[in-house]
C-alpha cells in the first residue's frame, strides 16, 4: 500500500516550537499514529444542476459516488449527476464502522464482496487518495459448538471460493489478538475463530471524498442539498426527476439511497422488500495501540476495531423497530459495552466518547438488491444491511456496468428483486455483522 506524497505535509516544519520538557511526559512530541494524511487542496465544485443528464444517480454516498466513478472510468459515461439530499456522504457512509471483508458464506456473496475487496486493494492508486486501507484481518469468534460448525463451514466455502480464510483455535486467536479474553470460565468462552487476514478498515470520509474528487474531475456534477421529491414518468420509463433544486431530465435513473430507498420507490409505485432500522455505532477516545485486528462476535454481539488515530470503533446492535431518525436507544449501547468488556477486559476504562446512528436498510435474506426494476431505465441498488461500506467499490463497479449495459452484471444477477418471487434467496443471516 502506498501513501500519496502530495498529501503528506510535515507540520513540524511550519511551526517552530520548543519540545516539551521530559518531566511532562515520556512521549515524543508527535504521537505515533495520531495524525492522518491531509486532504487535498481541492475536492469538488458545487455546480447548479443542469436541465438534463444521461444518468441521474440518486444518493451521494459511497455507493452513488463509486457508481458515478465507474460509469466514467469503465464506460465513458460522464453526463451524469449525483444528487444528494444533504451533505455529501453524510448518511451511512459517514456513520458506519468501516469494516472491509469478503468472507461471506454463499458463492454469490463471496463473488461480489471478493470483487470489492480486490478493488479496495488497488483503490488508493485508482483514486490517488490516501484512503488508509489497513489490512489488519478480521476474527469472527465462535462461542458455541454450533458457532464452530458454522464457522468451519464458512472457512471451507471461502477457501474454495478463493477467499483467504482460516480457522483458528483459541491459542491462535490469542496470538492474533492478545487482548481477547480466551479464558474458559467466562460466560461464553471463545472456542475458536475464523480469520480473514486480508480484511481491514479504511477511513470513510477519505474514501468518499476520493471518489468524489475523481467524479468531479470526470466532469460529473455533484449536487448537494438536492432532495428528490418526485419522478416524471412516461409509461415504463422515468424521464425526469423532480428535486428541491428544480426538475432534471434524465436518460437513466440509478437509485443508491440506502435507508431512504423506500421513500423513492414509493414515489415510483415500486415495492421493495426492505425495512429501514436504526443502527448505532460508537467510538472511544484516542488510545495507544492495543487492538491489532478486527474482532466480531455474533453470539456476544461485539464488533470492534481500533481505528487509525487510536480510537476504538464499535458497531452496536440494530434497534428492532423501523426508524428513519438516525438515532437509536441507549440500552443497545449499554448492552454493547457489557459485551465489549466481557470479551476485552482491558477495555474497562476506555471511555465512550460519541455515539451516533444510521439508517440500515435490511432485506428478508440479509443480502442486497442490485439490478433492474420494472421500469426500463430505473436501476436499483439497496438493502446492503450492514455490508454497504465494504461493498462500495465492488457494487459501484457492478452497478455502473448494469446501468451502462441495461443488463445485470454477473455478480449482480443473483441479487435481483425477482429472487423474492422465485424463492432463490441468498440467505446471509449468519454472516451479517449483527444478527438481525
Amino acid at each position: 500500500m502506498t501513501t500519496v506524497d502530495a498529501f503528506s505535509t510535515d507540520p513540524a516544519d511550519a511551526v517552530p516550537h520548543t519540545p516539551a520538557p521530559d518531566r511532562l511526559n515520556g512521549s515524543s512530541p508527535r504521537t505515533p499514529g495520531a495524525e492522518l494524511p491531509e486532504h487535498p487542496e481541492f475536492l469538488w465544485s458545487n455546480p447548479d444542476p443542469q436541465k438534463a443528464y444521461d444518468v441521474v444517480v440518486i444518493g451521494g454516498g459511497g455507493h452513488g459516488l463509486a457508481t458515478a466513478h465507474y460509469l466514467a472510468k469503465n464506460h465513458g459515461i460522464t453526463n451524469v449527476a449525483v444528487l444528494e439530499k444533504g451533505w455529501l456522504a453524510g448518511g451511512n457512509t459517514a456513520r458506519n464502522t468501516t469494516l472491509i471483508r469478503s468472507n461471506y458464506l454463499w458463492d454469490e456473496s463471496a463473488a461480489i464482496y471478493e470483487h470489492s475487496l480486490k478493488l479496495w486493494e488497488g483503490l488508493e492508486d485508482d483514486l490517488g487518495y490516501p484512503i488508509l486501507f489497513s489490512q489488519r484481518g478480521v476474527l469472527n469468534l465462535a462461542h458455541t459448538l454450533q458457532d464452530v460448525r458454522d464457522s468451519v463451514r464458512r472457512v471451507e466455502a471461502n477457501v474454495l471460493n478463493g477467499v483467504d480464510a482460516e480457522w483458528l483455535e483459541p491459542d491462535e486467536v490469542r496470538k492474533v489478538c492478545p487482548i481477547v479474553n480466551t479464558s474458559t470460565d467466562i460466560r461464553y468462552p471463545v472456542l475458536g475463530a475464523t480469520y480473514q487476514p486480508r480484511a481491514g478498515i479504511a477511513k470513510h470520509d477519505y474514501v468518499a471524498w476520493g471518489f468524489a474528487r475523481r467524479v468531479d474531475e470526470a466532469g460529473i456534477d455533484i449536487i448537494q442539498d438536492c432532495e428528490v421529491t418526485g419522478f416524471v414518468r412516461d409509461g415504463n420509463r422515468v424521464t425526469g426527476v423532480r428535486t428541491t433544486r428544480g426538475d432534471i431530465a434524465c436518460g437513466k435513473v440509478a437509485l443508491a439511497a440506502a435507508g431512504s430507498t423506500s421513500v423513492l420507490t414509493d414515489m415510483l409505485g415500486l415495492r421493495v422488500p426492505i425495512q429501514s432500522h436504526p443502527l448505532q455505532a460508537l467510538v472511544s477516545e484516542l488510545l495507544e495501540p492495543v487492538h491489532p485486528t478486527i474482532v466480531m462476535s455474533n453470539a456476544v454481539h461485539v464488533y470492534v476495531s481500533q481505528a487509525h488515530k487510536g480510537e476504538l470503533v464499535m458497531g452496536a446492535g440494530v434497534d428492532a423497530y423501523n426508524g428513519y431518525g438516525q438515532r437509536g436507544a441507549f440500552h443497545i449501547i449499554e448492552r454493547q459495552m457489557a459485551a465489549a468488556v466481557e470479551l476485552f477486559p482491558v477495555f474497562a476504562r476506555a471511555h465512550l466518547l460519541r455515539t451516533w446512528g444510521g439508517i440500515v436498510d435490511t432485506t428478508p435474506d440479509a443480502s442486497p438488491i442490485v439490478g433492474r426494476t420494472p421500469y426500463d431505465n430505473v436501476f436499483l441498488n439497496c438493502g446492503w444491511g450492514t455490508g454497504g461500506f465494504k461493498a462500495t467499490p465492488g457494487v459501484g463497479w457492478v452497478f455502473a456496468d448494469t446501468i451502462a449495459n441495461d443488463e445485470p452484471h454477473p455478480y449482480a444477477a443473483p441479487f435481483s428483486l425477482d429472487r423474492f418471487v422465485t424463492g432463490r434467496l441468498v440467505d446471509e443471516h449468519g454472516a451479517a455483522a449483527v444478527a438481525h
Binding site: 423506500s262 421513500v263 414509493d266 422488500p273 423497530y321 423501523n322 426508524g323 428513519y324 423474492f420
Partner: protein
C-alpha cells in the same frame, strides 16, 4: 429508550416490548389461489413508511399480548396504540415526520 403504552398494562419501558413489523397485513384467505408474485408480496414485502406507520408490537416481557400502534418512524413517537381488530385510528393532526428530525 421510549415509554410505550401497552393498551392492557399502561406505560412500560421499551425493553419490555417486541416489535412485529407492519400491521394490517392479513394472512391470505386462500394462499393456494395466489400467484407466486402475490404470495411473495405477502411473505417478504412490507411497507417501509417514513412517517406515521401502523405496526404491531407485543408486550413480550409483560402481559405477552399483541397490539397495534401508529408510530412516527422519524421521531419514533407513538401517535396511538390500539388493540388488534380495531381499525387504524385517524389522527387529528398530521405527524411531524420532517419537522422533528
Amino acid at each position: 429508550m421510549q415509554m410505550i403504552r401497552c393498551p392492557w398494562c399502561g406505560p412500560r419501558e421499551e425493553v419490555e416490548f417486541h416489535y412485529g413489523g407492519q400491521a394490517h397485513v392479513p394472512y391470505p384467505a386462500e394462499p393456494a389461489a395466489l400467484s407466486d408474485e402475490e404470495w411473495a408480496h405477502y411473505v417478504f414485502f412490507r411497507d417501509n413508511t417514513r412517517g406515521a406507520f401502523a405496526e404491531r408490537w407485543s408486550h413480550s416481557a409483560g402481559c405477552r399480548r399483541w397490539f397495534n400502534a401508529l408510530r412516527d418512524t422519524v421521531s419514533y413517537r407513538f401517535l396511538a396504540v390500539y388493540r388488534p381488530g380495531d381499525p387504524r385510528p385517524v389522527l387529528d393532526q398530521t405527524p411531524t415526520a420532517g419537522a422533528s428530525s
